[in-house]
Symmetry: C2
Subunit: 415 residues, 2 copies
């Protein structure tokens, strides 16, 4: 017997028939003697519909009332899943965010879960009743409804799993796991059986959209074992095994030999900025990044080139593509203080990252990377590294080629 939290997204909850498929997956876990809590999203499209109503009502909406409106989507699906389970003879009841309660703090519309009261929840699960919990919502200390921000249901599921000390948190989605790279680019991409929290964070943050990044961070902090798997099953079939996201230690136990590299991620949402002929003196670089940091713009991949002219340097860095114009405005506004010549920018760039907890030295990984890319004539514009990844910035047009070349170079291609 295990204690399991299952989470189903909007496509899985879109309408009576899909909810019935979900209920069968839940009933299967119950039949195996497991204690089950289920976290659900609103029906696909419903949250957008409700958000639009709020915008129409008041373009600068009060987030407290926004939360009242949008939280209703998950309220509906949690009631409907409880009803569907009951129709199959599986005892079930819904527990709304304010009923448990799931306490949150900070701001409406982007709240953070601070505490989940598990008294009633554990009692219900222990007596064999499935607890159906709307994702994305909670309650502020003042008794008002809060929501966690778009995609927050993954985080709700992980938080519930941590609170009830679940053996596993199964996140059902429309893909069947985490792959070594985007299968739409590399046909021979392999589904990973295991991936560490750290790797998943890097893979998610650089473009593999499977789980909300926040939920992975929470799972890592709380030690929640997460499985990503597909809710699209035929008839009464068991769902296929997905990818387990676990601690480094657990992977050590399961795998004799570790891959050097776990996966290749790509991200086309970066933009490159070059600030030319900045005075090469202390404080100059700080004067560039100060205004960007103050505006909450996330600067990545910084390179300083010694300029042709003595005492001057070119500074190259990347920002999220959506922040490009704002970044340029901020820099132009500080031109006198920074003392640069001009700003060049390019949003036709892509960041390619090789990720792996097993990488022993960045030098070895990087040299394989540079050689493989150079062999195909791909020019590297910038480099950055973290504990478990090496990233390069290249021309956006070469994204797919680079991903394929690296996937082969690190021996990730399926047989």
């Amino acid at each position: 017997m295990a204690r399991i939290v299952m989470k189903f997204g909007g496509t899985s909850m879109a309408g009576t028939e899909r909810i019935r498929t979900v209920a069968k997956l839940v009933a299967r876990e119950v039949a195996q003697g497991n204690e089950v809590a289920v976290v659900v999203s609103a029906m696909a499209g419903e949250t957008d519909r409700l958000v639009n109503f709020c915008r129409e009502a008041n373009p600068r909406y009060d987030p407290a009332e926004y939360d009242v409106v949008v939280a209703s989507g998950e309220q509906v699906t949690s009631g409907l899943l409880a009803l569907t389970l009951q129709a199959m003879g599986v005892p079930a009841r819904s527990w709304l965010g304010w009923q448990l309660p799931i306490r949150t703090e900070e701001a409406h519309a982007r709240a953070r879960i601070s505490d989940i009261d598990t008294g009633a929840l554990s009692a219900a699960m222990a007596k064999g009743e499935v607890a159906v919990i709307p994702g994305f919502q909670g309650m502020m200390d003042d008794g008002r409804i809060s929501t966690l921000g778009r995609g927050g249901s993954d985080t709700s599921a992980v938080a519930v799993a941590a609170a009830v000390k679940a053996d596993r948190c199964d996140i059902y989605t429309d893909v069947d796991g985490v792959y070594t790279t985007d299968p739409r680019i590399v046909a021979r991409a392999r589904k990973l059986d295991y991936v560490t929290y750290e790797e998943m964070l890097e893979l998610a943050s650089v473009g593999a959209k499977v789980l909300q990044t926040r939920s992975v961070g929470l799972a890592m902090k709380e030690g929640v074992r997460v499985q990503v798997l597909s809710s699209f099953v035929e008839g009464d079939e068991a769902p296929a095994k997905g990818t387990m996201i676990v601690s480094d230690e657990e992977i050590e136990e399961h795998q004799m030999e570790r891959q050097l590299i776990t996966g290749i991620a790509h991200d086309k949402n970066e933009a490159k900025i070059i600030v030319t002929r900045v005075p090469d003196k202390p404080g100059a670089v700080a004067s560039i990044f100060g205004p960007l940091a103050a505006a909450g713009i996330n600067v990545d991949m910084i390179i300083q080139n010694v300029g042709r002219d003595k005492g001057e340097t070119d500074v190259t860095f990347t920002v999220p593509g959506a922040d490009l114009l704002r970044s340029i405005d901020l820099l132009e506004g500080a031109k006198d203080k920074i003392g640069f010549n001009r700003i060049l920018s390019d949003d036709k760039v892509a960041k390619i990252s090789v990720v792996g907890v097993g990488m022993k030295s960045h030098a070895g990984v990087a040299s394989t990377m540079f050689r493989a890319l150079a062999d195909r004539g791909i020019n590297i514009q910038a480099i950055s590294t973290s504990e478990i990844k090496v990233s390069v910035l290249i021309d956006e047009d070469e994204t797919e080629l680079a991903v394929r070349v690296l996937h082969t170079a690190y021996g990730l291609d399926a047989e």
Copy 2:
């Protein structure tokens, strides 16, 4: 300054534009210095959509989960009205049933309000903030969401008005008041300025569908002054004065001379049953109505005709049309015990009622009625009376003719 509860139904809340019209009506009351609470229904069609989801999920649905699902409709509109008021610069916030709380008892899906905590509500209203309250919903003692049954928002509004001791409860709807009779039948029907609770109960229960009967009963019990008026106004126009539903005493203060008759109601949802040749002995009639009462079937208009044969009698009565087949089944099941010959039935009948607190003697009212109907050849099949009404059962085809004839006979036609 007055304290006012305003209630808006589903057609008034159907979409952003309609909600903006509602917000203008609310803002108008606030601008006059009034303290305002607003009770809202779900958008027209939304409750049906949610009820259908429940039926699809589980035909024999758990009413507790049904309540979770359907209560979401009013949650959405209360948030949206608060947002719309804020956009107009009117301070407002939503108060969900469980937040006040509005406590209910008895059964899910047909709960009764037992108590409304007015602490937070009165404080908010007193500081000039409009309290927007979803109708139709409350909270059971176990902390679960309850709903009051279809049309329950009228009752919510009256209950809130009673709790906050409102000077008036304005029920905005798609008609502009209560008429002397159905204006679709009698073009010269007049809008009433005042009507008593008792008259409204009779007019509502016999077919004038303006207010939920339960809400009128509650208003009478709590002494809440209710106004029925139209939410359909042009631009920034003030709403037209509607019909006030008040106590007999208040009408006495306002009106020098009382009309004998206030209105004419009709109801085509009755069916007639004739049980022939029942033994004319003590207990026989009781054996007919016992099984019907036990099944919760509401029997009206009973006549006992002495039969042609000695020691036998025919018993005629009416039941709601929806209960006709069930009533016949029940009577056939008790045939041996009752000892009748056969059952005749007719659902092509209509009940026409003349209603008026001012009627001094039933005899006078009735004789005018019989003469007027006889003059037009309309045959009376049964008669019943209460303190403030006289009803007759006639052929359904003659409904409109009878209503017009009586409207004229009692001097109700507009000039």
